[in-house]
Amino acid sequence: MSDVYILGAGIHPFGRFDKSYEAIGSEAAGDALRDAGVAWPDIQAAYLSRMYLPATSGARILRRLGGTDIPIVDIEAACASGGAALRQAVLAIRSGEIELALVCGVEKMPRGFMDPSMIYAPWQIELGMSMNPAYWSMRAMRHMHEFGTTELQIAKVAYKNHKNSVHNPNAMYRKEFSIEQILASPLVCDPIRLLEICAPNDGAAAVVVASEKKMRQLGARGIRIAAVSHTIARYSADFRCPADSMSATAANPGPTEVTAHQAFERAGLGPQDVDCFEVQDTDAFCEVEIYEELGLCPLGEAGRLIDEGATEIGGRYPVNMSGGLISKGEPVGASHLGQVVELVSQLRGQSGPRQVEGARVGLAHVLGAGGNCAVTILQA
């Protein structure tokens, strides 16, 4: 199978801006093109990931770069939208039909909790089941009950991510908080607290991807996409499928486990080969559970991994060097490509104070509504 490479990456900071989504998106796309040394008219197809924007957002955004008659497609797969879009570009290039594509993720979201009617049935909303963090929190309570994971261990994840964000100019919050401050912040849904949770916001990220042949023609040095996988959860396999009921007997594996397994197999790599990770930290517990599902430690031992500091920059498995979604915010359509942009910077050794020394392999992971999960593995 022919290889596909990232030639350039661009990001519009994540935050809240008095600016149209078209402007936010086209700036990130323009930056990715400049970084790749490629002109917009050379792009043969474009994929735009978003969840909360109107129809044909891709065309509305990318038209700002200049007139074009290439296919521009909007792609939606909840929090995994960016992975789904990147996958389409990779498949199109592998098919041989095109050599050069642009993938852009954009979102502009209202403040506060996300609009529940896009995800939940009216009766669930009426009975108060429409608060996203509640599902993650119930999962956390069960993990604490089964494995003795503590609120302190969960808070340590938030502490780490806030601490990393200080060095990321593209994050919305760039402030370090003490463990005490985190544990003193108000509960949102027990046991998850305000400083342990991500906020929906605005942002964009983009990459230019090319076939190996095109990369050589351009004399460019790209980052290889070793794998990009996207799956949805089977019945009862994930709390993020807005559940009115779940099975007490069916043992379907979780979407992170399934998607990561597929990506590792395609890449011919395992978790021990990965130098740096960017993962879905919708809340701090979400990241805890992902350690286990990615295979960084056995089931039930994520708490110990945190206590050992293994997931800090400088640890065995650095996770969320960017500050994670807890610090950056979660512009849903842009979040995965934002992770990919961070990994490109890490694998190029351009991440400054948050650089993982000698990083050669990076993994990005997102997980959200409907049990949509995407995993991308990049190799320098």
Binding site: P116, M138, C189, R234, M246
Partner: protein, 142 residues
């Protein structure tokens, strides 16, 4: 399923029994003949395997709390609850029928514990635009 009493369930197919006698009302599930999985509410299709040989079944009134959270902020959208907002418990309640049901739990939030026995309580949530009483359900300590 509007009946003589002019009551209706909050979601069609969620409850079984005479809505005018709430002590005789139970949750309704669907059991799949192909995979044996039971899910909440009546349905034409099994959410686990896609099987279409699915039959309605009255579910057990008793359950135990498998996990829970306390919702500390007013949920977004048309939440129907006390004004001003009161924090409430939301749980997954495990039934002997082999499923876990997402539901509000009516208990002192400091007394919540995984494994605690619970009993269903159908109740009138509100009156709709057509003047019918809307029946919902919650769980309380057994």
């Amino acid at each position: 399923m509007a009946n003589d009493s002019g009551r209706r369930p909050i979601r069609e197919g969620l409850l079984t029994g005479p809505l005018d006698d709430l002590s005789q009302v139970h949750l309704c599930g669907s059991r799949c003949a192909a995979c044996g999985e039971t899910s909440l509410g009546t349905s034409d299709i099994c959410p686990n395997c896609g099987g279409t040989e699915v039959t309605p079944k009255a579910l057990s009134d008793l359950g135990s709390l498998w996990t829970y959270t306390v919702v500390r902020h007013k949920p977004p959208g048309a939440y129907h609850g006390p004004d001003p907002f009161q924090p409430f418990a939301l749980g997954l309640v495990e039934l002997a029928d082999g499923l876990r049901v997402m539901a509000p739990v009516e208990a002192d939030i400091d007394s919540l514990a995984i494994g605690m026995p619970l009993h269903i309580r159908p109740y009138v949530l509100r009156t709709d635009e057509a003047g019918r009483e809307v029946v919902a359900f919650t769980y309380r300590p057994a």
